[in-house]
Structure formats: C-alpha cells, structure tokens
Subunit: 499 residues, 2 copies
C-alpha cells in the first residue's frame, strides 16, 4: 500500500555514481558474486517475468493457492531449506527458513499478491511483463507487480542465487514470511506471524525487511522510521438498514415524503471532518495521538530542505497544499497527522444524463490513517460510536482491512545497515520519522516481537496500483541502479547485516 | 418522467364495472366503432409491438432521427394529413395536423423516446414486446415503452383508426406535437412548440392532452391539475476545476496534505438541505413558493380519505414518511413542497474491497422539484449562487434538463371532459392539485399559449423506467380496461371534447 507514496513523496537531486563507488577492497569485494549476477541475468529476468504471469489478487479471489505455491517454489530454488503454506481464515501465507549456520538471522517480509488491473488501460499486457524502452531511464519491465512488489522481491532472491552460485556460504540465516492479502489491507497476516512456530522463529531475528526499489528519478533514497496505520471501511446506508427511505429505487418525486439513504450518507460523512475536510472530527479518534517529537520535527526540517517541493507537487498534479501550508508543514502532516479519506462513493444512477430516482442505497469507502498511539481497533470503535451518537447508527460500517501504525528506532540494525550501504554508494538518505502510507510492519514492531522493520533496496520503478507499472531492468541513468546493480545492493546489505 | 409516480401515488378501491356501464343510447352509441376496434385488434397490437422495436433513447443517442420518422409514419396511417419533423438543437420533434373540418381543435402531446434499459434485468427481451400472462391482471405486453408512453399513445391512435374505419367523420381536429427527449428532461421541446407555425396551430386548441394509462390495480383513476417543475443538474467537483486537490487519482496517504475533491462535493451537498434532508436550504430557492391554497388543501383532504396509505407505502417499500408525518401531510408535500433529491453520486474507487486513492473527481446528479411560482431558471441560478457564496463556486453545475411547474384550471375543457368520461364509467376520480412528478406541460400552460394540459385514458400498466415494464392488453379484471376498452375511452373522450 505504500509503494506509490514513496515515489511521489520524495523527489530531489543528489549527485551519485554507482559505478565509481561500488568497488571496494577486502571484505567488501563481491566481484565473484557480481560475475554470477551477470551470468544469471537472463535467467533471473525470465524468472521474474514468469512470476508476474502468475497473478494473485485477493479482491478478485484470483490465483489462490497457486500464488502461495509459486512463492514456495521460488524460495526453494533460492536455497530455502524449508518453505510451506500457512493457512489463514483468508488467503494462505508462506513461512520459510534458510539456515546457513550463521550467527545472525534476518527476517524477510514479502507479499505475493498484486493490485487489481484493467488490461485495457495498459500499453502492453500487464501479465506478460514485456521489456520496453523508457526514454531517460533505460529498459524497463512493464507488468502488474513489476515494482509492487515482485520486481524488488525477485531481485533480492537473485542475490541469494548469486551468493550460492559464487560458492559462498550465506552470510546470515533467514526467517521468511509472506502474505497474499497485502493489497486488501493484510486482514489475516497476524495469523501467519503469530502462529507459534513462526513467531518463535521470528524472535531470533535482528530485524526484518522488505525488498524495495528505493530510488527516485534522481537516484535519491529515503529511509522512513515507521508508517501510519490504516483502517479501510465501507459505509453502507440503505432503506433496509435504516428502516426509513425506500427498499428499492423509487421515483424521485417521492423525495417530498420519503427519506433518502443517499442524503443520509452524505450528511453522516459530513460530520466526520471539519469544514474544509482537513481535520477529522470523529469524536475520540484523535485523543491518543502523540504529536511529533522535537527529534522528529528536526528530521522533517532537514528533509524539507533536501526534498523538492515543486517536483512533489508536479508528480501529483497538485497546485496547493491544504490551507496553503508550507512544505515543512506538508511533510509534518504526512508523518504526524491522522486522516479521514474518501476512497470512493457510489449510489443511485451514475450513467449518462439524469434519471429521476430516489436511490435506496449508497456506499462510501473510507480510509483512516493512524499515527502513534492510535490503534486500528480503537479508530474503528470511535467511528462507529460517532455515527451512532449523531443519529447514523443504522449505517453499516464494514472494516475491510487495516492495522496499527508501525515505528522502528533509528538505531535498529536493519536501519543502520541500510544507511551504511546507501552511504557506500555515496547516497545520503533523507530520513523521515514516518511514511504517510501504511504497511503492516506493526505485526513485527509491536509486542511480542518488537523487531525493527524496514524497507531496503537500490533500483527504481513506478506505477504501483496504476496502469503501466514498471521496474527498471537496464539503467541508462548512472544515478539509478538497474536490475543487476540492485541485486548487488542486497548482497552488500546482507554482508552489512552480518557484521 | 411522471408515469411511475402516478401508479405509486394512488392506490385505492372503487367498485367499477366497465362492461355494465359503457353501452349508452343515441349520441353515445359507439358500437360501430367498437366493431372496428375488435376487428383491428391484432393489427393494432402488432403496430404497437413494431413501434416498441423501434427504440429511441436520447441519453444514448440511439434511434434518431428514425424514431421521429416512425412517429410520422404512425400519424399518417392514423389519418393525419400533415406530419413532419421539427429539427431542434437536440433530437427532432414532430408536428402534425388532422383537419376534419370540425368546429373544435384538440391538442395532442406525445413522446416517442423511451428510458434506458438493461436487457439482462428483464424476464423477456425489452424490445420484443412479448405478450405474457400476468396473474390477476390478464395478458400484458412486456417491453420498454409499453406504458411509458407508446402503449397508451398507440391505443389513442387506434381510436382514430377505428373512427375512420367505421366511416365516421373525426369529431374534432388535431394539432399534434411530439418530442424525442422527454426522458432527458425535454431540453429542446420549447423549440418545437414555439416554432411560429406550430404555436399558431396550437393556439386554436381547446386544450391539449397526452394519452395515459390512468387506472391503478383497483381500476381507480386520478386527475391532477398540474405537476411540479424540475431541474436536473450534474455537479462536478474536480482538482482541475477547483485549483486544489490532485489532477489525477493519487495515493490516499496524501490526504494529509492534499485537498480532496470528493470531500469538497460532500461538504457542498451537505449545505443544500437541512439536517434530516427534508427541506432545501439553498438560499433564495423557495422565496417565491406559493403555499397550497385552501381549495387545494381541501382537495388533498378528500384525496387522503380516498387513497390508501398502506398500499402506497407497500408499493415503494417505505415504512415511514419523512419525520413520521401523516398521510395528509405526505400528500400535501407531494403537491406543495419543493425538493432537492440526489439521483446518484459517484467518485473514486467503487469496486470490491478498498483502494487507497485520493480521487481527483466526484459527480452528483440532483433533481430539484419546483412548485408555483418557482421557475427552472431561477432555481438553477439560486443553486449556483448558493454554492458560490458558500465557497463551492468551483463546482461545475451542468443543467441536463428541466422546466417550470405546470398548472391547469379545474374547469379547463380537457379536464371537464376527462371527468365526464370517467363518470360515465362509474369512476369518481380522485382530484389532486399537483403531481409530485413533472412533465413539460408548462410549454402549453404558460403564456403565450395558456392552454389547459392534462393526461387521459383508461387502461393500466406499470414499470416505467424499470425492468419488465408492461401494459395491459387483455384484462381479466372487470375493474380495469384492456387495450380495446382503453381505445374506446379515447373515442368517448374525443366525442365528449367535441360537445
């Protein structure tokens, strides 16, 4: 749920030359591994393309349990001794381990599902993962899941292939968990992570990370020390639920004497935010909110100086921030303020022209983003209580997904290793206290695991959730890593973590 | 736009026997015409079925100008000496005349367009007009336009066929106008009616009427002395129009710093009605509203005693009226109160589950119903002014159709003749000051024409705008006229008008 955000969040410029800074002496000499990466390139690309062809979409109940089984196959090929399906009340997760007899164990979080797509909107078939030229970037792979998240994940797995092919011992052990419901809000992922055996295995980890194409169009990277939580809900107002209004669509002349479930929903929604819809007004929602600390504000001040406001606006097609606030305030709100967003709304006649009906039903889809110390369950309860108190208790509130915010300390091993590798490449990452988007890191960062959890990886891609999603394979821009260089960044990261 | 309303409005019981009361002596002996009606029955039904097969839907730009040409063909077959297309800025209308050398001239208003439909929702193909058994009613024709309005219109035309076939001289002359845009709010119908030649011809009329299947399931009929006006508008809120919010759908995490066009629309809509959405709060909208007169209230009191409240609620699936008002108040509001209704609303992601986007656009379709002395233009201006004044001036307000209210005096010849024919059939019509729905009668009742305008016809049908729309062909219920008896009601009406 976060991929698109990062790329639109951070745009800046930082001089950077991959080729000039990678070669290191001694323990940082991975030329033997690099030789294998080059040798295996075509095979690795084919492996990613095949994986993109195996589509799993939870919202459409498509590709289960095949997606999990395919994930298992990929893990076994990459050297995991054990890899198996973990059944949940929803779609299956995957648990796997690779024991290298190393002193340290690293946690891995993958998703094998992808977002829905409409092939008509794509310039090449989204399941064929074609390689096409993208001016200014190089050769990119276009397909659903290319960057979110199969591309970076396959890149990471190729690092394991290459390390083994070079005749090396894996520098760390792995405990791997994956889910097939990330795109619907990870409703059953806790059942995977907190299965006793899995939880026991994860406890041994120094931290956990997800492969991620971190570079923006300028090659720059950002490290976030957490993410907002999220609650996705569907609000349904209907004559049937309300006991007022009609049971079916009726002629609109009856508006004179019959209540309207659509108006009922509009009026209910209107109470959830203030006049300009910039602040939640759901009673009790924000009572536990912890404001940004002085340290966090300092991080944001630094980030605001380094990140390019005009670029960020341009990418989104945005002329003004809410209430015409400054760039610093905009970044503060992304890290520190809870939100109430309408993802979509529908009711009645929506075709061409008009149709004189009084509709019997309307639905709004909302997402609420949460900051420490809000929780998903308390936010849901606050929403329900608020609606009931204001005379909208009949409106059905169906939570379709969501979870708590997640926070990882700046000195967590997974974060320190990230920064070290980025620095080796001449990259000085922008550090932000919290991502405005969400990912289910809370299952790792909350008790009982209390692990640091982060994203890492060189490389670039864009278009998560959108048509023509892509992942950079052969870079024509020296600032940005292509597939093979991104593989090497994972090799370096693992050796850094092993230290 | 009114057909569905009438049938849901009025449900009651009145003992009635068509066959016992029709035969009259002397000038009311139409047995020669009836013989022709019986003889031509199959041909007339076939003619109606073929007409239903010729679909014209303005919202889909389907069946133009063929629908107008087909209308002309039907008119010529029924004896009109002149029938021609009247081009407008939209879809063509039809103007026709039948000069019988009679002292009186009667105006006719037809529509040749029908409402959109989805064949998947129908139990038989909507353009095939199949005859099927309907328990308790008899044989009905199922098709789009069956009752709204081709069925009653074809029934009327068969009356002309039969009068001529019986060797009679037409008792009145006709001036005929039809439109092909009734279902989108008659935006160009004034261009037909006020074309100098057409207007001149209409001025000669004693009044104008539209054929209409007036009988409900109890055989009862209602006479309305007018109808509300209507304004249909589409409200669009978008980042592009607003200059705030995004130009395309962006990740919902940006809600923290980017304005939402969907919220903007919801907040704007919320200002248009009061808390329970029962009263318009659009500034200036209701300033010219003429309250119901004592006479009108008296009509409604009588109607409330005769009409069955429980049946009216049951048909719509409504348990309670707004604010739990009484049946009399409900009828008063239908006749006397302006409304602001949401026909439909759409924005953002509306598929299964959620999708974490901040949509760049949302649209609401509204209809405003108007009473004397409101006008469509003033209502539109009030809406626009209100939005501008409350900070929503960026929201595009596109009027897709509409017109002023219409009122016809109780002593208008077309109304008196209706009541006379109904009375001859033992029917004592319920009289209401105004229909809660709308039809473009204002073009006739407003200056310069200032003609009485009404609906008339025995017969029954239902499902206008809905799947399985039907029109009764062979009645198994002695209280309700089938096709041939409905034809005869028009014969009687014309002779009554000629008196």
């Amino acid at each position: 749920m976060i991929r698109r955000t990062l790329l639109s969040l951070f745009a800046g410029a930082l001089a950077f030359g991959l080729t000039n800074t990678r070669a290191q002496a001694g323990e940082n000499d991975f030329s033997d591994v690099k030789t294998q990466v080059t040798k295996e390139h075509d095979q690795a690309i084919k492996r990613l393309q095949d994986w993109i062809g195996q589509v799993s979409i939870a919202a459409e109940d498509r590709g289960y349990p095949e997606g999990a089984d395919y994930m298992i196959k990929l893990l076994k090929e990459a050297g995991f001794q054990r890899a198996e399906r973990i059944e949940t009340s929803g779609k299956p997760g995957v648990f796997a381990t690779l024991d290298a007899g190393a002193p340290k164990t690293v946690g891995l979080y993958f998703m094998y599902d992808v977002k829905q797509f409409d092939p008509k909107e794509w310039s090449s078939p989204p399941t064929e993962a074609k390689i096409v030229d993208k001016p200014g970037l190089g050769k990119v792979m276009v397909g659903r899941g290319a960057v979110n998240q199969k591309g970076p994940e396959a890149t990471f797995l190729e690092a394991l292939h290459a390390i083994l092919a070079a005749g090396r011992k894996m520098p760390v052990n792995f405990v791997f968990v994956a889910e097939g419901e990330e795109e619907i809000g990870s409703p059953h992922f806790p059942q995977v992570v907190h299965k006793p055996e899995v939880e026991q295995a994860l406890k041994k980890c120094v931290g956990i990370f997800m492969p991620f194409a971190a570079q923006d169009l300028d090659g720059m990277v950002t490290v976030t020390l957490g993410a907002k939580g999220v609650v996705e809900v569907e609000l349904t107002s209907s004559g049937e639920l309300w006991g007022r209004g009609p049971l079916k669509d009726i002629h609109s002349s009856n508006k004179a004497r019959v209540d309207s479930p659509v108006w009922h929903l509009v009026k209910a929604l209107s109470t959830l935010v203030n006049e300009d819809a910039t602040e939640p007004t759901i009673e009790g929602l924000t009572k536990n909110v912890r404001p940004l600390s002085a340290t966090e504000k300092q991080m944001i001040d630094t980030a605001a100086r380094r990140l390019n406001e005009a670029d960020a606006k341009k990418i989104m097609g945005v002329k003004k921030w809410v209430r015409d606030i400054s760039w610093t305030e905009a970044l503060q709100r992304m890290s520190g303020e809870p939100t109430v967003n309408i993802e979509g709304i529908i009711g009645g006649y929506t075709g061409p022209g008009g149709k004189t009906i009084l509709p019997h039903k309307a639905i709004a889809k909302l997402d609420l983003r949460l900051v420490p110390n809000q929780t998903a369950q308390a936010a849901l309860a606050a929403l329900k209580n608020h609606l009931a108190k204001h005379g909208y208790g009949d409106i059905d509130v169906n939570m379709t997904g969501g979870y708590d915010p997640t926070t990882t300390p700046a000195d967590s091993p997974v974060v320190k290793a990230e920064e070290a590798v980025y620095n080796q490449h001449g990259l000085d990452p922008v550090v932000l206290p919290r991502l405005g988007g969400s990912w289910p890191g809370y299952v790792f960062t909350n008790p009982p695991l209390s692990l640091g959890a982060s994203h890492f990886g060189l490389g670039h891609g864009s278009g998560a959730h959108a048509p023509d999603e892509y992942y950079l394979i052969e870079s024509s821009n020296p600032k940005i890593a292509g597939f093979d260089d991104a593989v090497m960044s994972y090799v370096e990261y693992l050796y850094q973590l092993a230290k």
